[in-house]
Assembly symmetry: C2
C-alpha cells in the first residue's frame, strides 16, 4: 500500500509484544486482564488480544460496546458512568452479551434498576483520588445504597477505579504511593458494603507498566499500553521502542532559514494533546521511516500544529536529508486520541486495519 | 431525533446568517467569497452556501476536494501546500473540476510541472508573518522562478496568504496592522513577479470579521465564521450569539461537594484545544438547551476533559437544576476541530447532516 497522506502505521509485532507482556504480568499477579479497547477501537486489533486467550474487554461508550459485540466479544465492561439517556441501548446490548456497567451514584443505580430489565453486572466506581468522578470512600450512606440493587437482575460484582493522577512523570515509588492509596479506598468501600468477594478492577497504563505487582487487584484494565506513546514514555511507563504506532507524514515544505520542516499531518491527524517537558510544547516526536518500521530514537520534535500542518524543528543534518515528498514518521503524544482521529490504520505489512466509525454509530 | 449521546447541533439560521453577513461584506468590498470548507466538511452545509450564489470553495486536502467535487462543486482551491505524493490524485481531480493548488516553493512547482499534465491554476503562498509556511517577500529569486511555469497547462493566477498570527485577542487596530503588513508583502511579491493582475487571496476569520474593509483583496477565504466558536469570541471576531454549533451532552454525574458536573462529552467529541483567558484553561462554555436552540450567554465552563468525560465547574444554582440524564449544551472552543471529530451533525429541526468521512477517504 503506497502511503501518500498522513497514515497511522501499526507495528503489529510491537503491539503484540505489549499485549503479551501485560498479560503475563497480570497473570503472574493472579489477575485477569480486561484490556481497555478505547485506545485502538479496532476489531482487527481486538483479534490480537483474542489470539492470546483474552476474552473480556473494556470500552468507554455504549456505541463502542455494540461495535465489539458485533465483532464477537461477549463480555464487555463499559468503564464510563451509566448514562440514563442510553437505557434503551443498554437494554438491547445486555440481551446479547454479558454487559457490565459502571455506577457512580445511587441515582444512577436507581435509574438502571427502573429502566433496564435485562441482566446486568455492575461495578461501583470509586474515586481513589483523581476526582474526576466516582464515589468517595467517605460517602458511607450512599455506598450502602449503591450496593443494594432493587432489581433482582442487576448484580453488584465489583469495585472499579481509574487512577488518572498517575498521568504525569512517575517513579516506581510515586506509583506505589498512588497504588497504596487506591487499595486503601477499595478496602474502605468493601468494608462499608460488607462484602469481600467483590472484583477489584483497576489499572491505568502507568500503574500497570511501572509497578511489578498490584497485590489485591483482580482485574487489570489498562488500554493505552497496546500502542503506548511519547506521553507514556515521558511518564516512564514505556521506552520509545515499545511505541507501536507512528504517523507517516509527507514533507510539503522546507524552511532552511529557520530549520523548520512542514509536514502534511496536523491537529486533525495527531490531536492537539502535548507534553511540555522543558517548558516547551511538544506535539509529537519525529523518527525515520524504513521499509520494516521506524527508528527507535526520535530525531526531532513537532513544535506546532494547525488543522492539517505539522511544524518540525530539525537539525541541519536532518534538514539536508529531506525533500518535499519525503515521508517522516511521527510518534504521537497521546495514541488514544490520535487513533480516535483515524478512519483506519495500516500495518507494516500494508494491511488496512478496520476501526470503529463514528458516522455509523 | 432523540439525543442520547454527545451530538453536535447546528443552528441552521445562525449559520446562514453568518454566511450572508460575510458574503455581503466581501461583495461590498468588491471581492469574491471563496469560503474555506475545512470547518464544516459537509456537503449539506455546502448547499447553504450554494443557495446564496457561492460557487467557489476552499478545502485543506485533496481528499476533501474530491468529496466536494462529488457533491457538485466545480471550482475548488486546495489551500494546503502541494503534496508531491498526491500528484496522481491531483491529476485525476484536475480533469474533473477547475482545481487551484497552492505552491510554496520552486521545488513544488517543478514537481507539479513534471508530474501533473492536466490544467491547473496555481497560487503562490506568501508568508505574511505567520511563519508557518509560504515564501518570504525577501526571497526574490525563488519568487521569480515560482512565477514561471514550465508546463503550459499550469497557470499562476494569484497570491495566497493566511495570517494565522491574528489567532489571538484582537482589536480593530491590531487587525488593521496585520492587514497592512500583509498587503505590503503581497505588493512586494507582485512587483517581483511583475504582474498586477494576480488574484490576491486572503482572509482568516478574525481579519474578515473584525475589519470592515480589506482593500486590495480580491478573494476572501475565511472558514471558521460559518460556525464561529468561543475562541473567536475571545479573539473579538464574534459574539456568543453568532456561534452556530453546540454540543448536546448528557449529564452522567453530579459532585455537589466540589460544584462539578460530569458530562458524556470529552476530548474525542470536543477536541483538546483550549483558551486560557485568565490563566486557567477553558475547554468549552456551557449553555442551557431548549427546544429551539440554546441560551446565548454561557452559564458555566468546561474545566477539564478526558477521552469521553467533560468536567464542568458550575454554580450552586445550576448544580441544583441538573440531574443525571439532563442534557446541557457546550459551545466548543474551536469549531473546526470539534466538527472534524463528528460522524455527522444534527440540525435544530432534527435533520442529520452528512459529513466527509475519513474512513472512506
Amino acid at each position: 500500500m503506497k502511503i501518500v497522506k498522513p497514515t497511522l502505521l501499526i507495528d503489529e509485532q510491537k503491539a503484540k509484544r505489549n499485549i503479551r507482556k501485560m498479560l503475563q504480568k497480570a497473570r503472574s499477579n493472579g489477575a485477569e486482564l480486561r484490556p481497555h479497547f478505547k485506545t485502538h477501537q479496532s476489531a482487527d486489533v481486538g483479534e490480537w488480544f483474542k489470539d492470546e486467550g483474552i476474552t473480556k474487554a473494556t470500552v468507554s461508550s455504549v456505541d463502542m460496546a455494540r461495535y465489539f459485540a458485533d465483532a464477537g466479544w461477549d463480555d464487555i465492561t463499559i468503564a464510563f458512568p451509566y448514562n440514563p439517556l442510553e437505557a434503551e441501548e443498554v437494554e438491547k446490548l445486555a440481551k446479547r452479551v454479558t454487559l457490565n456497567v459502571t455506577i457512580v451514584s445511587k441515582m444512577a443505580l436507581y435509574h438502571l434498576n427502573q429502566h433496564v430489565s435485562a441482566p446486568i453486572n455492575y461495578y461501583i466506581k470509586v474515586d481513589v483520588g483523581t476526582h474526576r468522578t466516582g464515589i468517595l470512600p467517605s460517602q458511607t450512606e450512599q455506598i450502602k445504597e449503591m450496593s443494594l440493587s432493587e432489581n433482582p437482575n442487576h448484580h453488584l460484582v465489583g469495585l472499579l477505579a481509574h487512577a488518572g493522577h498517575t498521568y504525569q512523570p512517575m517513579t516506581k515509588s510515586s506509583a506505589e504511593k498512588v497504588f497504596m492509596q487506591s487499595m486503601k479506598a477499595f478496602r474502605t468501600v468493601s468494608e462499608i458494603i460488607g462484602r469481600h468477594d467483590l472484583i477489584i478492577s483497576y489499572g491505568d497504563t502507568p500503574s500497570c507498566s511501572i509497578l511489578d505487582d498490584l497485590p489485591g487487584v483482580n482485574e487489570w484494565r489498562p488500554g493505552n499500553f497496546v500502542f503506548y506513546d511519547i506521553m507514556q514514555e515521558y511518564f516512564n511507563s514505556c521506552t520509545y521502542d515499545d511505541i507501536a504506532v507512528c504517523m507517516a507524514c509527507p514533507v510539503v515544505a522546507i524552511h532552511e532559514d529557520r530549520n523548520e520542516v512542514v509536514v502534511y499531518g496536523g491537529g486533525v491527524h495527531l490531536s492537539k494533546d502535548f507534553i511540555e517537558p522543558d517548558g516547551e510544547r511538544v506535539y509529537g516526536k519525529v523518527v525515520a521511516l524504513s521499509d520494516d518500521g521506524w527508528s527507535t530514537e526520535p530525531i526531532a520534535s513537532v513544535v506546532r500544529l494547525s488543522q492539517e500542518h505539522g511544524i518540525l524543528r530539525v537539525s541541519d543534518e536532518l534538514l539536508s536529508s529531506l525533500e518535499i515528498g519525503s515521508l517522516v514518521g511521527i510518534l504521537p503524544v497521546h495514541s488514544c486520541l490520535t487513533a480516535d482521529l483515524q478512519g483506519y490504520y495500516v500495518s507494516l505489512a500494508g494491511r488496512k486495519l478496520n476501526k470503529f466509525n463514528k458516522a455509523e454509530a
